[in-house]
Amino acid sequence: MSLTDTLSNLKLSSLVPNSELSNEELALKSQWETLTADGISDDFITELNHFLSDKTYIVGEKPTTGDLTVFKAVFAKAGQWSKGDISVLAQHRHILRWVDLIQEEADVPVDQRIVLNFDSELPREVK
């Protein structure tokens, strides 16, 4: 199966339906789906990385279709970052951690996954 087919058929094993989301979670899902549809700009990447710095998923602590929407849009770029130097890894560290989680939970074939070196010594993050 090609990567394109893999991404279009992506499913998460434990998706939480909209009916079980709070207003705050629904708003975050709506926000990131709209921003993703607007295009993956540098500002979008910066905002997403900052947003994911203290969250597991796009709405916080629950996997939703919002994760799949954003994952499909950033997966190719994340693949490029994963091969970059320490500064590139550090700049996108929270997105890469999240991509790794989603590719695991969505059961992306091993040969199509982004490989991250968790032994890399990233510089301390300045907040």
Binding site: N18, E24, L26, L28, S30, Q31, W32, T34, D38, E47
Partner: protein, 175 residues
Amino acid sequence: MSLQLYADRGSKLPSLVRNLKVAIGASVFQPKLKLTADTEKEEYQLVLIDKKSGFELIEPNAIVKYLSATSTNGTAEAFEVDPLEATLNEILRRRKFDDSILPLVKPFSKADSTSVIQILAFATLYPVLTKTAHKNEGFEGLKEWFESFASLPEIANGVSAATGLTNLDRPKEQN
């Protein structure tokens, strides 16, 4: 109230549209919430912040939907996506505010200030349908809805708040 709403301080039309969306959303759904300029920050970004929980939203459509859903009679149905929303977002993304966008939006049968999609449509069409020199020929139905929507007091309040906080670059004078 723990919610704070800060304006987009950009000087182009998309900033005006974004500020219109959230200022009208606040005026309609949470009248005590006012759009303000955060002069302490250098960043020019629009944001809704709940000071108590730290919850933040930066995308205007999501902010309007959240304000609707959490209003007195609000429901989660506010988050349902209207097919027109993608078209309106595309207009904003392309920054194309001229008569060519008018055929993309069908007139609404009745002005309803509590309709999220009407708020988003009104804000997006505002730069085109308020040009005084334009007659918008062929789009009288749309113009009629727009003017009817604009005349509602809660909408007028939102427009006033947004336009008061958005300093648009003036177009260069032509000889």
